[in-house]
Amino acid sequence: MSWVLIALAAWVLGWWINTRLAAAPLARTRAGKLAVPVIFGLTVLVVWEGLVRGLDVSPVILPPPSAVLAALAGSLPVLWEDFVQTAVKGALSGYLIGCGAAFLTAILIDRSPFLQRGLLPVGNFVAALPIVGIAPIMVMWFGFDWQSKAAVVVVMVFFPMLVNTVAGLKASDHMQRDLMATWSASYGQSLLKLRLPAAMPFVFNGLKIASTLALIGAIVAEFFGSPTRGMGFRINASIGQLALDMIWAEIVVAAIAGSAFYGLVAMIEKRVTFWHPSQRH
């Protein structure tokens, strides 16, 4: 029971600190911007630990964060091997191929409104195909190693990226395009000097959406066949062994890697689209 009280107290304390912190001038500094979510996260962890212990939840249902941390620290080599297999080989390569292909396709169909009108509705339809359905097919086609995971990721990220890039290529306003016309700029020139720069905020929107999808796709695809390593494999195998601490350790790795990747894309976005009003304030 006391653990439950500790959890409650931690919640109140964390909330109080954050409210104070957010109101303070510190909140506008980089440290403040980092501290608030970190404190929020820590609060969640303490509450979780307290509730699991206090309510005596079986570790085969939900392990306490301390156990997860122990598993994390105790199996770093395995986690690293899984990470390389799934995140680097599967997700990253799929992300690069998928986003790159979508970007090129967007530029290719850019000149044909006919193709765009035809491809985008069909694209939206394909994007609605659930990955859990695509994954077994990809495993069947591309084998059980990382190539099939990359293929799933390619399918997942392709359409969000395509739709965003196509929208972005239309984003330059009329006057900016007319200006190019008065200079009699060639198609390539106006693409390079006007429409691609103007498309960047949209392109990055697509890249950000895709960045959260990629890792999930790779992990899920491993449920449908894989070599004996990889984050999805480990999670799947650990369920049978009731090693929930290991499952959560993998989930933590996935969340950190996913968030870090998202953050990285957001950072590059800030650099590239420095001129956009949303980046200025």
Binding site: V60, P136, M140, F144, G225, T228, G240, L242
Partner: protein, 305 residues
């Protein structure tokens, strides 16, 4: 009537015909039971379900149950309707596998999620490392595609199910080589009934289980006697509508071979063989010490008298 929830290890199919027959023929009702049968699937770990209180009794394979017990989940086998193991490795003849000695250098499909232990034990016995140096292990999905696509030389199959899927896919039996775990001497106990140890101490629960096992075994024997009818009962209970009559009838026939010879009571020799196999896992045994109290005749004794 007393409520009982049973968690199956897999989707609704003739593998679990006994319970569906008992349900359909009113055997449970006659014992004053109201039984809910929850189908399983590749994403369902019965051990986790029972730990979470989602079921009173689960069907699981003994390796996985014993591993869970060592993890601190006190599961107890109260009945063992399956006498023999139906697991085997099915290989394409053209891949050049004729005997276990040929596994070296090949890719083998294995089920994970708690079903990998018998395989690992066998490989250990053969002295083959599974980390890719001797054999390459492929975590196979739900089906036999890796074999049909020739991504693996052999895949895990059950005599009653996946083997027939290979056949149905158009591969002639002559083109296949099969290794039954039973024949290789590495068989472990499959579908048994498990409950939580602490609950067994409760006489009311014990009584409920006695009645449950009694009715279930009656169902099994009924199914063995009338396999076609049993298969149709299973078919009626399949909510996905994906099963076919032919496949289920054939499966029932195979299942009957595995349940034959069991009256429901666990054979201690079988249990010991399973434990020995699991403990002999070399550097990485499934269980590290002989389990205590992992099974009981408490229920079957009363149920079968």
């Amino acid at each position: 009537a007393d409520d009982v929830t049973l968690q199956l290890k897999w989707v609704t199919q003739a593998q679990f015909a006994g319970y569906y027959v008992a349900q359909a023929k009113g055997f449970y009702e006659a014992e004053g039971l109201n039984v809910t049968i929850l189908p399983g699937g590749p994403d369902v770990a019965p051990t986790q379900v029972i730990a979470g209180g989602g079921a009173d009794v689960v069907i699981d394979w003994m390796p996985s149950a014993l591993a869970a017990r060592e993890k601190g989940l006190a599961l107890v086998n109260i009945a063992q309707p399956f006498k023999s193991s139906g697991m085997m490795l099915t290989c394409l003849k053209e891949s050049g596998v004729a005997a276990p000695a040929d596994f070296k250098g090949k890719t083998l499909g294995v089920w994970f999620g708690g079903n990998e232990y018998p395989f690992l034990n066998w490989m250990n016995k053969l002295g083959l490392k599974t980390d890719g140096t001797d054999v390459t292990v492929l975590k196979q999905g739900f089906n036999v595609d890796p074999l049909l696509q020739k991504q693996a030389a052999c895949v895990s199959t059950m005599t009653y199910n996946e083997y027939w899927q290979v056949i149905d896919a158009g591969v002639a039996p002559e083109d296949l080589v099969t290794f039954k775990y039973e024949d290789e001497g590495v068989a472990t106990l499959e579908d048994g009934l498990y409950v939580m140890e602490d609950k067994l101490a409760d006489p009311a629960f014990e009584d409920k289980m006695v009645r449950f096992v009694r009715a279930s075994m009656k169902g099994w024997k009924e199914a063995e006697a009338n396999p076609d009818e049993a298969a149709m009962i299973v078919l009626e209970n399949d909510a996905t509508g994906a099963q076919t009559e032919g496949h289920q009838k054939r499966m029932m026939g195979e299942i009957a071979k595995l349940t034959a010879g069991s009256n429901g009571a666990l054979d201690e020799a079988d249990y010991q063989r399973t434990v020995d196999a699991l403990m002999s896992g070399g550097s990485d045994p499934v269980i590290t010490k002989a389990p205590e109290g992992a099974w009981t005749h408490q229920i079957t004794d009363k149920a079968l008298q």
